[in-house]
Subunit: 445 residues, 2 copies
């Protein structure tokens, strides 16, 4: 049975417990979380309380921190403690960021000791660091142990299957020396020393490294788990591949938002208030509006010529639009190539040469396409102005769009700030200068 | 020792084998692949041949298919066969897509039988399907086996550790009944029947489902491996989490490219030829240029009024720029929310109400900010025209930007086609209509 949000909302409002039960039994935890997230916050506790304890935990884990926080608000204290203790330590840390300080203190107080220690340790690390994202739930083994002893330690740890797939190997000072894969322990004869099974050229990352570095390393090296060490190389946690995927999705959302000239929302769209939505866009919109005054100034300088040849005004949107589009295309391609590591700053001269040629090729094409219609509807001189302007604007905008992101990166700024709207605004005024200079020269006005 | 591309290129050109050896020994496989990719294709085989066989394979695996193909071209036949047989079957299928048909036949012929069967099986599935991406390297166990027998099967299979973390469980007809985690087999007492350790509410996917569905499922449900079944529910392979991350990166690149009005390149930036780069942008650029003729028409209708009040031309770029920017912001936010599943088509009425209010709030803000400067530099009437135009354009563009992506999705088109450049071009002409209508009415021209 699929069910629209409206129907589920109706069942909840009518407190139709029987049909709610039926529905909950038929759905997976992910789907339930998805549907509950669509209800109003005050409606969510009703179906949630109908779930058996273990499924409730699965649904709760599938929520994002904002929904988790809202649900905790609506539940009684005793439910809260159980849910909070039941989720992973790193998810707990993220949830604590989300709830009001009073609720956070209340939640920490209700935790078992081991869980509180873990959460507190995680909270000591800066936001967006590997330390904040790592899980302290892992089994480390000594390099001098036998495979059989290591397996016994895995059995006794009582962690979830996901948490023991890769085991960090440490020396007597808890310093990381490598990792051993559980399958290798299983396959080895019981007496084998762990050291013989250990991969020593293991990747690891420091607690205060950026979480994105950890995530990209996990992605590039196809890891299941990445050990996290402190400044003395002592093992303090692991970042797992599922966390890495979450980090990457979050970073991609940031990049995509910036590409559209919007600051990332940080919460699901339907959760954000209208004022919050507006605030994330206002700054860029005002900045770009102010920058657009440059184009007002350029046209102001040529106002007399426009009065003489008012047809000049006709092509303003088309010409600056083309400049903005080709600049945005170049910036998009170069920003992405920088983000996924296909190009580096050392490649900048090559990038610029390539974008210059690409811009000229595209500009030539547009100029040729535009020539005939303008000649037919206006005259030959005008066709020359528009075609050559298209060529120069397209070449210049493509070059500028390819140049600005590496400059930003060089200055330590996120290249994604040179988003489509920013590039368009920046090339508008220069494009108009090109246009009017050519017009004055060719038309002799 | 870090080394710039220039120095490495010099060592290669000078055939300085000793220092190349030194350098290769100090670097990890990922770094070597990264540096070699930066060399000219004909330079790459020299350092590559200096690598011991197992490291050469690791470096080769770290290359993307384009570089793999180029390197195979440059190596002798015997090297080729070894490299090709050494990599995973699903990577092999992707590489076969990349090399010329003659080379592909040659490579398939050199494969051991088991590897060729695997690769051929994969090649039967459509591009971008789960079947194409899946690996046939897994160990499946019967639900009636004992845990000890299952572990013996894992030991005998001789697969890599990554490939046996999660084991699909089948019945006597090879139909998938669930999965068992290796740690659970290890922890259970040897006589336990596999069925007792099996999670039966396991996710699985069909061979011809889209690879992105498989990848998103792995991400959302935090899986290490996802079983792939045929239409009779028979197990045919698994998609692993590292493949899922690769798929997601590829899909994100496509989304980001389209957001900038560029078709995805499909190859690394520096590998693409200039003409290829230009071709990926040309279509959109021409389409948008043609669409921009609408704005030429609108201005043409009001040409007389512009001659009367030439200051009207001054604000064209600023006003249509603001419309384009606010429309792009709304489209970006809504497209992303659709892509990650935060909103669905059923939420469209809510989206439209929200975007209408957000647009009005932003428009009001811009109108207020713009009023005073225009009044000071021009006059009161003109300030009224510009401020009210900013308000209406911003409200309309935000509404349109929020509306178009769901319409595209409804029609079965990728919402990302309503990229920033497309939205900007579409709202240009309507924005000008709003502008001139207000100007005619307020200024009485």
């Amino acid at each position: 049975m699929t069910m629209t949000t409206e129907t589920l909302a109706e069942l909840v409002e009518n407190k139709d417990v029987e049909r709610l039960h039926e529905w909950l039994e038929e759905q997976g935890a992910l789907d339930i979380a998805d549907e509950l997230a669509r209800l109003e916050p005050h409606q969510r506790p009703i179906p949630f309380r109908l779930l058996p304890k273990d499924r409730a935990l699965a649904v709760f884990e599938a929520f994002d921190p904002v929904h988790q926080s809202e649900l905790l608000d609506a539940l009684a204290d005793v439910d809260m403690d159980e849910l909070f203790a039941g989720i992973d330590a790193d998810d707990r840390a993220r949830l604590l960021d989300e709830v009001p300080a009073k609720v956070a203190r209340r939640l920490l107080a209700g935790l078992p000791n081991w869980a509180r220690r873990n959460t507190n340790a995680l909270l000591g690390y800066p936001e967006e660091s590997a330390g904040r994202m790592m899980s302290p739930r892992y089994v480390s083994v000594r390099s001098t142990m036998s495979a059989a002893d290591a397996l016994t330690k895995v059995r006794r740890a009582g962690l979830r299957p996901r948490e023991v797939l890769v085991l960090p190997v440490t020396d007597d000072q808890r310093r990381l020396v490598g990792v051993v894969n559980l399958p290798d322990l299983v396959t080895a004869s019981p007496g084998t020393v762990v050291d013989e099974l250990t991969s020593h050229d293991t990747y690891s990352i420091q607690v205060d490294d950026d979480q994105e570095i950890a995530a990209r390393l996990i992605q590039e090296a196809d890891l299941v788990a990445l050990p996290v060490v402190d400044h003395e190389d002592r093992l303090v946690g692991v970042v797992t591949v599922d966390d890495a995927m979450e980090i990457i999705e979050q970073e991609e959302t940031e990049d995509i938002s910036r590409a559209g000239g919007v600051e990332p929302l940080g919460v699901p769209y339907l959760e954000a208030g209208v004022i919050q939505l507006a605030r994330k866009r206002a700054v860029w919109l005002v900045l770009l509006g102010v920058a657009a005054v440059a184009s007002v100034t350029v046209i102001g300088r040529y106002e007399d010529r426009i009065e003489t040849a008012s047809a000049l005004a006709l092509f303003i949107p088309l010409l600056i639009g083309t400049g903005g589009n080709s600049g945005a295309q170049a910036a998009t391609v170069v920003i992405r190539a920088l983000a996924v590591g296909e190009v580096r700053l050392a490649d900048v001269p090559r990038i610029l040469r390539r974008e210059l040629v690409v811009g000229a090729v595209l500009g030539l094409m547009l100029g040729v396409i535009g020539f005939l219609p303008v000649w037919l509807f206006f005259d030959l001189q005008f066709a020359i102005v528009i075609s050559s302007t298209l060529f120069f604007i397209c070449t210049w905008a493509t070059f500028a769009g390819g140049m600005l992101p590496p400059i930003a990166k060089r200055l330590g700024i996120d290249p994604a700030v040179f988003s489509t709207p920013v590039i368009a605004t920046l090339v508008d005024a220069t494009g108009l200068l090109i246009y009017f200079s050519i017009a004055v020269w060719v038309l002799g006005i």
